[in-house]
């Protein structure tokens, strides 16, 4: 048969070829023109796995761990792999659960992750459960252990300093600083965990894995070429002395108040207590939310860091600073004396002084030792009215500027968050208060630490550093080095020396000796100990509170500031015990015992009774519960009012919306019908 004779073979060939061409065109569109399939393929087959590096640890000054990661085991299960061979009884026994609980947990995992994927069956097994489970692991097909790290605090102390981590909230995720976080990530919520978040956190790694049709991860995508490795968080070494910290917390048990101890030569914080304190381990793991609300609703406010957030009138502890300013301004010389006869009458009213003996304010040193009120309100007036400032407003402003340079009325810049500013009045404050007409008599109380001035304990301790250092300070801070590097850029602000006065060292010596006299033969003899020259100042601060709707005079705050030894000081300390009485009674012993503990490493047997007395004292004022519950009632009422208002607004808004929608629809349909 010739080719020409049968055209049908060509028809068949044509059919073959045309079908192939149709296929090629279709393939071209599918593979080359369309891009969506590439995206879809990556979506279904590539698992982006974020790998979290271990968070950095925190050590104290001697390298003792204060916060680190500990391995815990979660029990994982792949529901599909749980076969009939599973010895349910043995498993339940190992985990100490009953069979209905087992069924419930298994179902929960199945619903959450599907039967093919591994899911958490039980979180954080106890060591006992772990041991019993692993003994018989061959009996439990489908179950396995997965290790995980959690933060743990080996000493139940320094809770507010170390802080804790928690899941980032949706509100936080909206902020720019949390741009690199994903929902479910953890971040530091308080303390060092928060302020050194970037250092501790390290860098997350991203691994791309292929997954199969059951969503099980398989091998690395493209051999891991696109992965970014995770970088472990760096550890922090603190100036904090774990032992001293624990000791201080023990001394402050059953008291309200705070202790701040700083090494003046570096600004490094040796101990910081806000009493009452709590066990930081409460705020980790499964029970965090419950414990948090319990602490939050406690009347003694353990979550408030009194050392940095609460401010108190400094009382007599302000006097050394007033003296420093007066000296630096040139208003007085160390030999300046004031003839106090038991009171100060220059401003037309009496300001009492506890001493009346002649010569108890014969010069600065004596006046300091005797804490003469007249002397210090007088020298405050001398500062304010100093001729070189021209007028009292400029004088008070100059005084306030000194205060600011001492970081009064401002944040000290300590490296834990939520620091308070305290209060420092300047000429503006008084202009507002007295409508511009005032003189140095109006606010002479601030010279002796009463009136409009209020300092946080850390500001007080920092002021002690200035005296100890003879005129300069470093910003108080906790972290000595990051990953062993003391010069890390993060720490730069803390390496800068702040010089605040230009008084000769010899004059400083007089102030220091005056403060030493306080301990040797003045108001603070309780702090005296053999072999160490302690310089200190007591303070007893009047304060008021609102109880049952009326202002009520509360028991005085007991305040004590000190540094030691006088020559080459190693520790500066500020102690406040709220509503406890005289400065020398409660705050003094705490400061003194801590100095002894820090400088000599132990407390001498002679002072054990003092220590014991502090351990046993319960100085929490019963009024605070009444104050707290009244405050809570007010808060609740305000909350309810606000909610009611919002609800009313909402329903009004809804009504308006309905009206709008109706109007819109009516217009829409009328237009439509018209068309």
């Amino acid at each position: 048969m010739s080719l020409a004779a049968n055209p049908r073979q060509f028809v068949i060939r044509l059919i073959f070829i045309s079908i192939a061409v149709v296929m090629l065109i279709r393939l071209f569109f599918l593979q080359v023109v369309e891009d969506k399939y590439k995206v879809m393929a990556n979506d279904i087959a590539i698992l982006r796995k974020v790998v979290y590096p271990p968070r950095g640890a925190i050590m104290d000054r001697k390298g003792r761990p204060m916060l680190y990661n500990v391995k815990v085991y979660d029990l994982m299960v792949t529901p599909r792999n749980v076969t009939r061979q599973l010895d349910t009884n043995a498993l339940c026994q190992a985990l100490r659960i009953d069979i209905p609980t087992f069924e419930k947990l298994l179902n929960k995992t199945r619903i959450k992750n599907g039967p093919m994927r591994k899911g958490v069956f039980m979180e954080e097994l106890t060591p006992e459960q772990t041991a019993r489970f692993q003994e018989n692991i061959y009996l439990f097909p489908g179950f396995e252990m997965a290790e995980r790290f959690t933060r743990t605090y080996p000493n139940a102390s320094a809770a507010l300093i170390l802080g804790y981590i928690g899941e980032v909230s949706p509100e936080m995720l909206k902020k720019e600083q949390y741009a690199s976080y994903l929902q479910g990530d953890y971040t530091g919520m308080n303390g060092l965990e928060r302020s050194y978040e970037d250092v501790l956190r390290g860098q997350r790694g991203v691994h791309f894995l292929e997954r199969d049709n059951f969503n099980r991860p398989r091998e690395p995508y493209r051999g891991g070429a696109l992965d970014t490795p995770e970088i472990a968080g760096r550890s922090l070494e603190l100036y904090l002395d774990a032992e001293l910290q624990e000791y201080a917390e023990k001394l402050m048990v059953n008291k309200l108040g705070s202790v701040v101890a700083i090494d003046p030569s570096t600004g490094g914080i040796l101990a910081m207590v806000s009493a009452p304190s709590y066990d930081p381990n409460l705020l980790k793991g499964r029970d965090r939310a419950r414990n948090y609300s319990k602490l939050y609703s406690d009347a003694t406010k353990p979550l408030l860091n009194r050392a940095t957030q609460a401010s108190y009138q400094p009382g007599s502890t302000m006097k050394p600073m007033t003296a420093l300013i007066a000296l630096d301004v040139g208003a007085i010389t160390p030999s300046f004396g004031y003839p106090c006869a038991g009171g100060y009458y220059a401003c037309g009213r009496r300001i009492g002084c506890t001493h009346s003996g002649g010569g108890h304010a014969a010069n600065l040193r004596v006046a300091l030792a005797n804490s003469c009120n007249s002397y210090f309100v007088h020298i405050f007036r001398l500062i304010a009215d100093a001729r070189k400032f021209g007028n009292v407003k400029k004088g008070v402003q100059a005084w306030a500027n000194y205060g600011k340079s001492f970081s009064f009325g401002e944040k000290t810049g300590v490296d834990i968050p939520f620091e308070g500013k305290g209060l420092l009045p300047d000429s503006n404050t008084y202009n507002k208060m007295y409508n511009g007409s005032w003189n140095s008599c109006t606010m002479l109380f601030v010279g002796m630490g009463q009136g409009e001035v209020a300092l946080t304990p850390i500001q007080l301790a920092n002021a002690m550093c200035i005296i100890a250092n003879k005129g300069f300070y470093y910003k108080p801070h906790f972290v000595k080095s990051i990953g062993g590097n003391t010069k890390d850029p993060v720490l730069k602000p803390y390496l800068e020396k702040h010089v605040v006065t230009h008084i000769p060292d010899s004059t400083f010596d007089i102030v220091a000796r005056g403060m030493q006299d306080v301990v040797e033969r003045g108001t603070g003899t309780v702090a005296r100990m053999d072999g160490i020259e302690i310089c200190a100042k007591t303070g007893t601060v009047e304060n008021k509170a609102v109880v049952n709707g009326q202002a009520m005079k509360m028991k005085d705050h007991s305040v004590f500031v000190a540094f030691a030894p006088r020559v080459n000081p190693k520790i500066a300390i500020a102690v406040i015990v709220e509503n406890a009485g005289y400065g020398a009674t409660w705050a003094g012993p705490v400061a003194s015992l801590m100095i002894e503990k820090y400088l000599l490493d132990s407390v001498s047997a002679k002072r054990k009774p003092l220590e014991q007395k502090l351990y046993n004292a319960n100085l929490v004022n019963r009024y605070i519960y009444a104050i707290d519950s009244a405050q809570r009632l007010r808060d609740q009422a305000r909350m309810e009012r606000r909610t009611r208002l919002r609800l009313a607004e909402d329903s009004a808004g809804r009504v308006q919306d309905t009206i709008k929608a109706k109007r819109f629809l009516r217009r829409y349909y009328t237009n439509k019908n018209r068309e």
């Binding site: 068949i12 599918l30 590439k38 049709n213 091998e219």
Partner: protein, 440 residues
Amino acid sequence: MSATSKSIFSRLDGVTLLLYILLVLIGLTAVFSVEYRSTDPSIFMMNKSHMRQFIWLCISVFVGLLIIFTDSKFFSSFAYLSYTIGLFLLLITIFAGVDVKGSHSWLGVGSVRFQPGEVCKIFTSLALSKFLSSPETNFSTLKHRIIGAALALGPAVLIILQKETGLALVYFCFFLVMYREGLPNIILIIGFSMVALTLATLLVDRWILFGVITALTIGGGYLIRRELKRNIVARIIIVGVWLFCILFSQVLVPFAFKHVLQKHQVERIYSTLGQDVPQAYQRETQKGEIKKGNVSDYNVKQSKIAIGSGGFWGKGFLNGTSTKNAFVPEQNTDFIFCAIGEQFGFFGSAILIIIYVSLMLRILFLAERQRSAFSRIYGYCVASILFFHFAINISMTIGLAPVIGITLPFLSYGGSSLLSFSILIFILLRLDSDRQVMIR
């Protein structure tokens, strides 16, 4: 030099053999790539498909050698007997078959399973060739045409009874052979029209379609109005065609979709058309049956994702994320083309399609150069079967045709498929080596 004096191997058609070997090797590679895991200790793992496929390849080559050493006349004389055996096997399968994935088309002999429906294609090809080439057959008579169609479709009926509709459809490819041997053009036209009408029925509202058909008939009648006035036969024909079209679109197709086709088949057809199954054709789901999404829709979607994500050059050998991680169901058998499309992209797919078309055209070329009609018709049978498998399989993976469970020749994993296609090719090669000999 006479043809017979040369060695039998040198008389085999080298091009066909080369294309065959190419396809088989591509198939092995594809099957290997789909199941490969980077954790595999060795590539020679007997529990993996590619090694089993390799064994089947060895068996195929061995059978091929047997065929080559067989006298070429044997095939024509064996044709009817083999066809009878084939029908008998199919009949047995209906009763003694093993259930595999819902179909009942497998015969189990020990641990080895095979599909008589696959092998029967060979026997049917031989029988049809024998019948059409026999001097007693006059294919221009209706009787012989009906016999020819019955020969081709007999096995199909038995296979439908085994619930393996896809495989049965393959037997319709013999109409292409019969067309070559003189089936009137009108059959082909009617066939295409029916397909078009079916599609129109599914896509267009029935009353609109009724109107369109009627309008077309009236329009056509107006064009040939003189003929209609003169000729009563023409009038009968035009009314008959109209009546048939209406019946077909209004009654027959809905009936078939409601009562003949199975649920999954209806779903597959509609999913290819890109539409949801209409309310009227939806079967009531049995009690306790969970209503799932359209399963075949899922297959095609995954298959399109795999192929589409290949891009122009592909993701590279063993880098196919979709196929390697088993997102495409049946990816080493019916959907093996995804492996090629994903890993080698448009470039690789085009080369594969060109290889297939070359093979089919080469077979047609071989067929046309045969002296004996038996060999020629057999060649057409082979080409048609290959074409049907190739066209349907690739079309369904790229969403051009409904999902019909038939294999991609030489590439899909599966012993029956590889062996039967190899036998088809080797018989053709054997016949071609004796193309000067008249075989009856």
